[in-house]
Each structure stands twice: as C-alpha cells, then as structure tokens.
Amino acid sequence: MINRRTLLGATAILATIATGAFAQVDKVKVGFVYVGPVGDGGWTYYHDVARKAVEEHFGDKVETVFQESVPEGADSERVMTQMALSGANLIFTTSFGYMDPTINVAAKFPNVKFEHATGYKTAENVGVYSARFYEGRAIQGHIAGRMTKTNKIGYIASFPIPEVIRGINSAYAHAKKANPEVEFNVIWAYTWFDPAKEADAAKALIEQGNDVILQHTDSTAPQAAAKAAGNVITFGQAADMAEYAPLPRVSSIIDDWAPYYIARTQAVIDGTWKSDNTWDGIAKGMVVIGEISDAVPADVKEEALALKASIVDGSYHPFTGPMKKQDGSDWLADGEVADDGTLAGMNFFIEGLTGEIPN
C-alpha cells in the first residue's frame, strides 16, 4: 500500500540518488532547443549536424539531448527548464525568439550554462553567438543583381528582427551596386518554418515577375517552387540545399556551428566557460559559401569569389559608406564602416528599398 509516508520516503531516496549522480560529473550533458524539425533541410538541420559533430568529437564524455519544433515563447521556457532539471550542463537555444525565455530560465539555474543564438541579451551564465550571415548575403546580392533579367528580386523574410533586416540591406546594397536598375520585393512570412506558406510566397513573387528568390526562412519549399517555375534562381539558406543545384539553387549560405559547439562544450568540461558574445563570419568559417554552380556565368562567379576573398582578408566590409537610410538621412560617410553595435540592433532599411519594416 502506498501512503503518504512511503511516498515521501521514496521521493527522498530518489532525491538522494539524483544528487549523488550530480555530485560526480563524469559526463557532460549538452542540450539543444530547436525551432523547427531536424529534417527541415535548413536552419535546424545544420544545428543538428553540429550537435552530432559534438557527439562524435567527444564520444562517451558527452551526452547530447535535443527537442525539436519548440515554439518560441512560454513553451520554450518549459522545455529549457525540463532540460536543466534533467541534468544538462550546457544548453544551446537556437532561435531569436528564445532570447527572453533563455534569460528567465538561466536566472533559475545559475549552475547551468546557456548559449543563445542570434540574440543580444547576456548574463553571467548566458552567452550569445551568431554568424555574420550578411557577409554571405553580400555575395548573394551581387550574383542576384548580375543575373536577374527582369531586375526584380524577391525576398522571403521571416520576422522583422535585426538579423533578417541586416540580410536584406546587405543583399540589396550589393545587388544595387552590380545592377542599378534592381528592385527588391520583400514578403514577411511571419514564420521560420511553414513549407506551404513559403511555397505560396515564392509563387506570389515569381508570378509578379521576380526571377531571383532570396529566402530567410528555413525550408526548401521556395527552392521547389522556383524549380517548378523554371527560369528562376535561388540560394540555399542556412544549409547547402545542394539537391536543388545547379538550378534553381546557384549558391548558398551554410551555417557551420560545429567548431563553436565543440569549443564551448570543451570549455564546460575544462571549467573555463565564460559568458561571451561571439559573432564570426566567413573568415572564421562559421559562415560558409556553398559552391557557386555552373549556371552562374564565369565572370559573375569570379566577381563573387573576389568579393568573398576581400571579405575574408578584411579589406572589405559589406556595410561600407557612403550609405544612407531609407528616409534619406545619412548613415555612413564615404569609406566609413558600420560598427557592430549598430549592425546588431539594425532596425532600418537602407536607401532605395521600398516598403516598411513592420514593428
């Protein structure tokens, strides 16, 4: 018979066993919170590739756990709490919308380290990391500007956050430089992952004469829509999406998180982990430019690679003046380079882009 006393006793024994297990940290447990399914073929897929790299690198010393398709908001707080309670030592939260939940949960578990992707709020035990995707967007913008025949470029944006706005600005600036006639049409899908909606958005853009589709959403649906339409080019987002090469996918931005995840896990094992703010680009290998396919003319490919080389060696920054804001006010003087603070909080379009950024 189970009465309250035996139940209490059992709980006490369980608690002792649990604390006993915690006391001897011989195995580091790393948790990952994903916004989409691991099979999205894009953003989450590559975070999961990096998770597997961590497992492979450390073997038995590290155990990883992950939860996929976690909605941004209160649900994510529950998932993180659950992970922290089940003994995770390090938790990577991999979407912008997990920012406040991460900070909240981290306050409750001071001994657990948290790493939040693409955000800007840090704490004693919360570090942030992101990649300079805008460097890749500059190269995409250049190829897009050179290759469009209708001079109309469609952009499927997700949410109006600095990371997405930066990408649009960078792509537009370089498309415009390559082709002054170019015009950007932006659709805000308000989702990171919804293949049907992403496909609809791509179709709407294509039907209106856009012959280049850039996407900042996570699935390969826009690639499929472009392939069905023909005569449209696209770029892989967050993953290579090589299954759509050489056309419509002519190049891609790949996020390589593995070295960072391995380094941070090592830091936890060594006890040297400190809250950080990492923002690496092509030079450090966090952003990888996928192979530029043969569908791109040789001279355009050469220019794109030269642009990439100048970004890697630091001689060129994608946000170099003169640049004005959309309302015509000055932003960067001739030769001036944007500082990271402004870029991290970017909430304005540059001159020439039409349409407003939703609040």
């Binding site: 989409g36 399914p37 691991v38 099979g39 999205d40 073929g41 398709s69 469609g154 109006p160 049409n185 932006v186 659709i187 805000w188 899908a189 308000y190 989702t191 992952f193 919804d194 293949p195 049907a196 909606k197 496909a199 609809d200 958005a201 179709k203 709407a204 853009l205 039907e207 209106q208 004469g209 856009n210 699935s219 390969t220 649906a221 499929a224 829509a225 392939k227 069905a228 999406m241 299954e243 759509y244 039409t354 349409g355 407003e356 939703p358 609040n359």
Partner: protein
C-alpha cells in the same frame, strides 16, 4: 506600390490550390463531428497522408497511387483513434492530441529517406477547348484533378447529409446516440466508418501539400493546416457549403496577402498577416449570428457504451 503586377487570373488559380488541402481535411472532419466524434488528430493524419502519398508516388511514379495510399494511410491512423475511443472508450480529446503527436513522429521516421526528392508531377486535367478559354479557362478549367475531386467531395458530402437515409442515420447518431442505439442502429460501427472517412480525407489533404502545393517532403510540413481545418469546421457551424466558403476565404486571403506584400501595397504587414484568420472567422461568425440555438452535434465528444 504596383498593383498591376498582380495577375488576378493567376491569383484566383493559386488560391484554389492553397485552399484544397484545407477543404479536404475539413470536409472529412465535418463528417466525423456530425457523427458525434471529436477527432483532434487531423494534423497527425494529414502529415501521415503527406508522407505515405509522397513515398508511394516517388516509388511507383504514379501520383494517383500516391493519393490512394495517402487516403489509406490517413484512414489506418484514424482507425487507431477509432479503436481507442470507440472500443476502449478513451477520452477523445486526449486521444486526438496524442494522434497528432504520433502522426508527426511516425511521418518524420518514414520520411527520413525522402528528403530533397521531387515527386512525379500531378497532371493537370485536360479539358480540351475549355482550358483554352481566356480568363475562365485558366481559373476554372486548368487545375490538377485533385482540385475538382475536393470540390466534388464537398458536394457529395453535402448531398449525403441532406438527402440520403445514410446521412440521416449519421446525423441521428451524432445528435442522440442513445436514441439511435434504441432504434437498432450500430452506433459504434457507424462512427468507425465516419472516423475512417475523416482520416482518408485528411490523408488526401496532406498528400496534396506534399505532392502538389509545395511539392517535396519536409518533416512537419503541414505546419498547422490540420488545426485550421478543425477551426473552420466549427466556424462553419458544421455545414458543408460553409466549410467550402471558409477554406476558400482562408486560402484565398493567405495568397492574396502574400501578393499584396510582394506588390508593396502600403498596408501594415501585421494587418495583412493576420487578415486570413480575422476575415475568415468574422465572415463565418457573422453568417451564423442571428440563428438560434447551438448548431454543434449534441453528442460531440461524448462517450457511448451500449450497455449503459
């Protein structure tokens, strides 16, 4: 802003495509709910149908076979729900939610080897000279056959519920299962048939997304379409015609708002993004208002046991 960039003919044609998966799933759920069963697993059955249809179409090269297997896959999953709720008398809400989770999981498992593959194209129905008519031809007569199948299915369900003896029995079971049982109707058997039909329809809807609308396989690709279908059944107050209207409104405004954004119409994007939900609900609720009484089937979600 450049409204002339929007081609109304292409717009209407693509809204019919966008609405089709929701029509299929919603009309199936309508029949299930009319029989007094609340199956919240539409999303799970849709995604299962999506991968079953996709897999079979890729392996066999025949989209028709794919759709057929999608219907069977959805129905098999629905029968699991039927077994649990009708025979083992489990709670319908909890079982339905579990079915969605199960469907999402099993579809991701089956789908592992199907990522990044293009399915065989579903052919457009060739209607000869009709398809060549200007404007009307493109809007009405040049879709794939599933679009027409979905429309025909709505008509059949409407007629079945309204005019046939079978429809009357189904509704009787949904309104008062004790009375129907007393009259000698096999309540459980009728409900199981309705549940299987609902599952088959949801499976077809899912396969339409993976085979025609997107077309490719991605984990979790239905992304909430099943829940939209469930909501539309309620807001359409369990009437087939209104389900059609609701699905077209929702699908249509979704496509329209994306087109308006692409054309740079100076309406705040937030307003455009929520417009499909707001307008669909507003229209359907307004149509229902002023009518007295609750139009929900009286036995919706209630357990039935013959010996009680």
């Amino acid at each position: 802003m450049n409204l002339s960039a929007i081609d109304p003919v292409l717009l209407i044609a693509s809204l019919m495509v966008a609405a089709t998966p929701i029509i299929l799933a919603a009309i199936g759920e309508l029949v299930v709910e009319k029989s007094g069963v609340l199956n919240l697993g539409v999303e799970g059955m849709m995604i299962t149908g999506a991968i079953c249809g996709f897999g079979v179409a890729v392996e066999s090269g025949s989209p028709v076979l794919g759709f057929a297997l999608a219907a069977i896959g959805g129905a098999v999953l629905a029968m699991l729900f039927g077994l649990l709720t009708q025979v083992l008398l489990s709670n319908q809400v909890a079982t339905g939610l579990a079915l969605t989770l199960f469907g999402l999981g099993i579809s991701a498992l089956i789908g592992q080897s199907y990522r990044g593959i293009s399915p065989p194209a579903t052919t457009r129905l060739d209607m000869g000279p009709l398809s060549d008519l200007p404007v009307i031809g493109r809007i009405l007569f040049s879709h794939d056959w599933m679009v027409y199948f979905a429309l025909a299915l709505v008509a059949v369900v409407w007629a079945f519920l309204k005019f046939t003896r079978g429809g009357l029995i189904l509704r009787a079971v949904g309104e008062n299962h004790e009375a129907a049982h007393a009259l000698g109707y096999k309540v459980v058997r009728i409900r199981l048939m309705a549940i299987a039909f609902g599952g088959a329809c949801a499976g077809l809807g899912g396969a339409y997304i993976s085979l025609v609308r997107v077309p490719q396989w991605t984990d979790g690709m239905t992304a909430g379409a099943g829940w939209i279908a469930l909501a539309i059944v309620v807001f359409a107050s369990w009437r087939a015609g209104r389900v059609l209207l609701g699905a077209y409104l929702f699908g249509g405004i979704t496509v329209l708002q994306l087109n308006l954004q692409a054309a740079g119409v100076p309406v705040p994007v937030e307003v455009l993004s929520m417009s499909p939900y707001l307008i669909t609900i507003a229209v359907l609720v307004l149509m229902t208002s002023g009518r007295r009484g609750n139009s929900a089937p009286a036995m919706l979600g209630r357990l039935f046991h013959a010996s009680s």
